[in-house]
Homo-oligomer: 210 residues x 2
DNA sequence: TGTGTAAGCAAGTGACTACTTGCATTTCTG
DNA sequence: CAGAAATGCAAGTAGTCACTTGCTTACACA
């Protein structure tokens, strides 16, 4: 069962590099340091192997949490955005390949969509909390605002390599800049959060694994 | 030369469906209604054919323009966002495939990046004009704001099929909702644009082709 | 009517694909 | 130490891939 995980990890890596058709069983076997026959003995077929590799891969993703009751929106949203952007950047290759494969292998895309769905739901809850607590004074729909921030982070992770000049600089401040802009959009001003917020050490950014 | 365009169009269509490796010369020939040998007589190799098909395809893309001097930001930005989102949705398949191919065929991704680069530059100019004309009162960096709106549109086009529940509803209002939210972020209020704006019929949305 | 050019067609090339089979080797276990 | 299980290795199968060759057909133009 150690072997199994090695093979799955290797398959995920090869898939991230070459996509489904480019992931030949030879390449996967070589990457796993295993004989090609072993793949079929474990998983039966290339398709089953890659499907399981993708499921195994998405299960290993940790989710960064947002506090249930907002205290310092700028800081909290920045930290969350940075973590999410970091996650997207680390997985940009595999995300790209997965997205291009959803038409021919929808079950792969299905399990991959769990992470962004979860993140989006979390973000919506947080934005609603901002409104409820009176920290966000603008009128906005939380789902639209959440989609906007996540879209910006997603596009940044997917596109910065190819066209860095259209992205905010420097790269390591991008998440903060997007978060700041979104807070302006929903009507969170610095004055709204006048209360000394640094005191309450909320346990956020609980990185689970990976 | 009519044949040439037919083949190029067919190749682009097959590529959008199946990606580079999935675009077999058989499939392309069948889609073009042409003998497989003809492909090689015209283009020499599959790689050259697909490369030319992608270049030909991106050249046919029309760009929606923004007015040089903003008059009715909400309306202008909404129209532009709708046009850009429509363009992205129509091409979502080919964009997905192109993005997943940039590592192994960078020249394909290179020519595909011209459209978003152009759009981003246009949007930056417009946002700067908003600031200059005193319509946008917030402090913001135009490139970040542009990346945010374009990112939201991009992610919407790429992800709505797979996870519609995280996207703003209805789909045909999404562009307007993103545009509205961005204008809030940059400090464009309805009062800033008090002057009767419907009068000046600015020639925007000049759709060039396709 | 003759000629050149564009296209189709049939067949075949060697390389690669996923996957199988049979057997030898290692490694763990009772 | 015996036997079972896991793995490697060599070989092979049928199919597909990009691409080539040789020949035939069809149509244009002079």
């Amino acid at each position: 069962m150690d072997r199994r995980h090695e093979i799955l990890a290797a398959a995920a890596g090869v898939f991230a590099q070459h996509g489904f058709l480019g992931s030949t069983t030879r390449r996967i076997a070589e990457a796993a340091g295993v004989n090609e026959v072993t793949l079929f003995r474990y998983f039966g077929s290339k398709e089953a192997l890659i499907r399981e590799a993708m499921q195994h891969d998405t299960l290993s993703v940790g989710v960064t949490e947002l506090p249930a009751v907002p205290v310092d929106p700028a800081r909290e949203l920045t930290v969350w955005s940075e973590a999410f952007l970091k996650h997207l950047r680390l997985r940009s290759s595999i995300i790209r390949k997965t997205m291009s494969e959803i038409e021919e292998h929808p079950e792969i895309g299905l399990c991959a969509s769990h992470v962004p769905k979860r993140a989006s739901a979390d973000l919506c809850v947080y934005l609603d909390a901002l409104k409820r607590e009176g920290l966000a004074t603008g009128e906005f729909e939380s789902r639209t605002a959440a989609a906007m921030l996540m879209g910006a982070l997603f596009a940044d992770a997917m596109g910065r390599d190819m066209m860095p000049e259209v992205m905010p600089q420097p790269a390591n401040k991008a998440a903060e800049m997007y978060a700041t802009l979104l807070l302006r959009a929903v009507g969170v001003s610095k004055k709204n959060v006048a209360g000394k917020s640094g005191s309450k050490q909320n346990k956020q950014s609980k990185q689970l694994s990976n």
